[in-house]
């Protein structure tokens, strides 16, 4: 047990190496979630409100992609970003930016699918009002997204949780480089492969503790917002 508590002690004592790993994990996953949200929210609302040929197919594919295997996303992103791939000239492979891109691909279907469902439910509720008032389509999207804002926070958390928990994409496109692209999950994988299971478990406990804290904070913020909004 000594090592398990030692991981927590390292964190509490502000160990710079562990702190950097935790910080990189959070920054990468937050950025990936934000990037996916920028695309996923409008995309989800669009799918909820606009009928076009192939819409059902797209919805089914997006739903299925909520379960995209991270290792496949990582591999595809790797082949794209590799120097021998089409985007190799960007020189992004083995960098935090590459990790953000790969994770946002992973998270995008979750945000888009759940947003579509939420907005579609709201739309059936407000359909008559918005149609009677002849609200323009763009305004409909923003109105409904605004009305769904508290649900969207939960959706963001689901996406963030997926990003922060996965190891497949960040391992492949980040390379698990010490002090540069090592995250909580790749560090746990590394310590496991070194046979240092207590330290790996300790890091796992740290990661879970951080996730609980973030979710608790988000829940509190959401509650406060709901109370203020009545």
């Amino acid at each position: 047990m000594a090592d398990e508590s030692s991981a927590l002690m390292l964190l509490l004592s502000g160990d710079p190496t562990l702190f950097d790993i935790v910080r990189l994990s959070l920054v990468v996953s937050l950025a990936a979630t934000a990037l996916a949200g920028l695309i996923g929210f409008p995309l989800g609302a669009f799918l909820a409100l606009v009928r076009f040929p192939g819409r059902t197919g797209l919805i089914v594919v997006l739903n299925a992609f909520m379960g995209l295997p991270p290792v496949v996303v990582g591999l595809v992103a790797y082949l794209m970003l590799s120097r021998s791939g089409p985007l190799g000239f960007l020189d992004l492979l083995f960098s935090p930016t590459a990790m953000v891109i790969a994770q946002s691909i992973l998270v995008l279907p979750i945000l888009a699918s759940l947003t579509r469902q939420t907005v579609e439910d709201l739309w059936s509720e407000y359909r008559n009002e918005l149609t009677a008032l002849r609200v323009r389509p763009v305004l409909r999207v923003t109105t409904l997204l605004w009305d769904a804002r508290f649900s969207l926070v939960t959706i963001l958390l689901a996406g963030f949780g997926r990003a922060a928990a996965e190891v497949g994409t960040v391992m492949i496109v980040g390379g698990n480089i010490e002090g540069f692209s090592r995250t909580m999950t790749t560090a746990i994988a590394l310590e496991t492969s070194k046979g240092d299971l207590p330290l790996a478990i300790g890091l796992g406990i740290v990661l879970i503790t951080i996730m609980i804290t973030i979710n608790a904070l988000a829940w509190g913020v959401r509650r406060m917002g709901e109370i203020r909004a009545g």
Partner: protein, 275 residues
């Protein structure tokens, strides 16, 4: 408002995170799990950085995958241990020149109670034949790494066509050295490991070294600059600076000085006519 604030905060974080300074002095070295898991890089890289200011980013993979990463142009230097594969890499035009760096040896690990009864033999191929004949669990890396290559060569030397003769006792896990040792520890199996990773490995369970000292267990490491003629973006100057340091007396001494529990893990031999 809240979700928007959350978004804005997240975007701000993203903008701070995104730019990676491109002008930094750094190289990517594709290397093996043995050099990383044994802790060697953690020991020598800070010294190199202090002397030259060059950051060395190590991507630890099996030798086969490391060479493949370099072949794609995603690394500046490879630091691996499978001579035949390294020579092919250079013959194919992907590498400039191979420098021998250091050696250690492979050891055959197995459970203390040794159901195959091979403990103490000096003939590793005889031990391999016994393992196969008795059908005791053997964990193979199965990942084209340097250690996997060495294992396959030993089966061949033992007169066994492992592709034909493998049964349920032969478990190819397709993972790194640490994962193979974890697997062997949990199923009390036999496994071929490099001594460095074994010495640094903490989850030994009932495993111990059963066979060592056979000259066929010799494990040579080499370092190669990726050919800028193939991949013009390769940082040839910085990469060569790293190679020059590793094979210099100073780098060789740094390697020799790395010890775990008083035991030296790697033996530098860049200058002594190494293979």
């Amino acid at each position: 408002m809240l979700s928007r604030r959350f978004l804005i905060a997240a975007i701000l974080v993203a903008t701070f995170a995104a730019p990676v300074p491109a002008q930094d002095k750094s190289i990517v070295v594709a290397s093996t799990t043995s050099t990383q898991d044994s802790g060697l890089f953690g020991h020598i890289l800070p010294m190199f950085k202090a002397k030259t200011g060059i950051d060395v980013k190590v991507v630890a993979q099996g030798t086969g995958q490391a060479l493949d990463t370099a072949r794609r142009g995603d690394a500046d230097v490879v630091f691996v241990h499978a001579k035949a594969q390294e020579e092919k890499f250079i013959a194919d035009g992907f590498g400039v020149k191979r420098y021998p760096v250091m050696y250690n040896d492979f050891v055959l690990i197995g459970p203390k109670d040794d159901p195959a009864g091979i403990k103490g033999t000096k003939d590793v191929t005889a031990a391999f034949r016994t393992i196969k004949d008795k059908g005791v669990s053997f964990v193979s890396r199965g990942d084209k790494s340097g250690t996997h290559t060495a294992e396959l060569n030993l089966w061949k030397a033992a007169g066994i066509d492992i592709a034909q003769d493998k049964g349920a006792w032969y478990k190819e896990i397709g993972q790194g050295m640490g994962a193979a040792l974890n697997t062997a520890a949990s199923m009390n199996g036999y496994v071929l490991a490099d001594r460095g990773t074994w010495l640094a490995f903490k989850n030994r369970g009932d495993l111990e070294i059963l066979v060592e000292g056979d000259r066929r267990l010799f494990n040579q490491y080499g370092i190669i600059l990726v050919n800028p003629a193939q991949h013009p973006h390769v940082k040839a100057d910085l990469g060569q600076a790293f190679i020059d340091w590793v094979v210099s007396p100073e780098g060789q001494q740094a390697i020799a000085d790395y010890k775990i529990g008083g035991q030296q893990l790697f033996f530098p031999n860049a200058t002594s006519g190494a293979p």
